[in-house]
Symmetry: C2
Subunit: 346 residues, 2 copies
């Protein structure tokens, strides 16, 4: 399994990105990670890791980088030889089966959208999924930023894609699908949510559809896939990250003085417990969010990803490509087409 | 100061609602809480509280109740004598200066919107504000559910209303205003966010406007007022509640066994510390969210509000009415009209 990794993407690239690639090839058999970016800088990073299997860490040179704060479309046009575009060329050309990047999210998505032949057949618009913890295990929120102006049909397809991802990658059986809304009654919300609600109810997915879910229901796990427009999903995802960070900062302030007075061994146990809990909330566990609806596999990592997040993203991308998540999405979309059901219902 | 309290609104009404009213008149001088709802049931609850100042807890009978899950507009039309509508009649008639309810939020808002003379002059659409904790103190998110299809001009006015509330009620000086978005660049997001960004930049409020903020910036307090459409605000508010609840449940699971092995006194100190932290995140502290842009004052409480939340809501409602938050909003809206500035800029 060959995977392209954007070595230049991320707040601290290429250091932790290359380190993650090294960890990945050491831990995962049968994986080749093609490092895309400035050859000299990548080689300098590789040299820090001692004895490594160079044949499983080939480099493809890209002379330019899209900055984290750059305007995506403009940057992609100006910098033709940027590492993100080169990654997509590798997957489009069949050289690799998956792409991983912690770089500019907008540029990653725009680069995929530019190339309509990267879309899976039948897919209207790819969507980014994010994973949240819940009382019943991980749940999928989709879309969290690829599509700012979705139609009901897009949110319908996101339900299919999210369910395939939940079942194939997260091990959920018979994933239920919910619609993010401001109340449980079906006429709640906006024109988009009402149209989407109707579409699901009249579709072959109606048995999986659990109706509207509210923000507070994310963590109860009743819906294992929650669909929403990219704007809402992006704000909720980042607000969640901010809330957890804030809460742990406050926890440190509040419990710090108490813990300081405990016997060292007890204090250590407590701090370790808290650390373990925090780790469960961090994106590093999941590596990043998959861009669903494209050929092969693509994981978009957080800008501040460390080596562990990158390694996990490479692992998930490989699993997605091996399990042929894309093929399953095509099949499901065909079997559950909302248009067809619309005709049947009408 | 006379305040109407919807005694029938809330998941556990009228018990905790009446208890909150009793606490309020006991703690706050010069306050009269008019209890609106089923006279017999309210009297039965009042009789549980021993010696109370009955003259400061008058009852206005309302024979009907809008259920928490009822469709607001339909319910208001069918049940003319419901407690929410009676509360609004009391404020419209000048009998009270403020309204507090933990009942059906949609019905509270719809009831206010039905009566256009309840709007403050110059206000396009009222908005509900919610308070979040941040590293710099409380911040205001507006709107969290009154307006599902706002225009840029609405989000502009929400900035003014939120800033007045932050300064008059939360004690913030020179409240900054931010626009909820998916990235920091001004062209990010939707048509609505781009139009709103431009409106602020060209307005007399441009010095207070800190531009786009992302979900993760809520708790840093850089923007003390964050404006967004009601759908987004509602989802973020409820997702935040759900996340805190989930995190504390996990914390209990993770730390419970460790704490159980500590000496009783140490364990107690720790549990107390955690409890204090959780309380800071609960709506009970703030009583509820104000509906801004209407005459007098209105606080919409959480459905599961206990006596303390109700008492706090009554206190905040009284302060808002006394401080003439409404008059200040009218003056600010006049002084900072985005139309006028649009003409000047053009």
């Amino acid at each position: 399994m060959r995977i392209a990794l954007d070595a230049m993407g991320g707040d601290f690239a290429p250091g932790p990105i290359v380190a993650g690639a090294v960890e990945a090839v050491r831990e995962l058999a049968d994986i080749v990670v093609t490092l895309v970016g400035d050859r000299e800088r990548i080689e300098a990073e590789l040299s820090k890791h001692g004895d490594i299997p160079h044949d499983r860490l080939p480099i493809v040179h890209a002379s330019q980088v899209v900055g984290m704060e750059e305007k995506p479309v403009e940057a992609l046009r100006k910098k033709r030889d940027n590492s993100i575009s080169v990654c997509w060329k590798l997957i489009a050309g069949g050289d690799v089966k998956a792409v991983v990047s912690a770089g500019n999210t907008g540029a990653m998505v725009a680069s995929a959208l530019f190339n309509a032949k990267m879309f899976l057949p039948g897919v209207r618009r790819p969507g980014i999924a994010a994973i949240f913890p819940s009382h019943k295990g991980p749940i999928v929120l989709i879309d969290v930023g690829a599509n700012m102006n979705p139609k009901a049909e897009d949110l319908y397809q996101y339900g299919v894609m999210g369910a395939v991802y939940a079942e194939q990658i997260l091990g959920v059986s018979d994933a239920t699908i919910g619609l993010m809304n401001v109340g449980s009654e079906e006429e709640k919300g906006t024109e988009l949510t009402r149209a989407t609600h109707l579409l699901y109810q009249r579709s072959p997915l109606c048995d999986r559809f659990v109706g509207n879910v509210e923000g507070r229901d994310i963590h109860d796990g009743h819906a294992r896939v929650i669909v929403c427009e990219g704007f809402v999903g992006n704000v909720v995802l980042k607000a969640g990250e901010g809330a957890v960070e804030f809460l742990f900062a406050e926890l440190k302030k509040e419990l710090g003085p108490i813990i300081a007075q405990l016997p060292p061994e007890t204090a250590q146990t407590l701090v370790k417990g808290l650390g373990g809990l925090k780790a469960r909330y961090e994106y590093q566990e999941f590596g990043g969010g998959p861009l669903l609806g494209i050929r092969g596999a693509c994981i978009i990592c957080h800008g501040s990803s460390g080596a562990r997040a990158i390694k996990n993203a490479v692992r998930v991308a490989a699993t997605m490509a091996e399990d042929r998540v894309g093929e399953r999405i095509i099949r499901w979309l065909g079997e559950t087409s909302s248009d067809r059901s619309g005709t049947e219902a009408g």
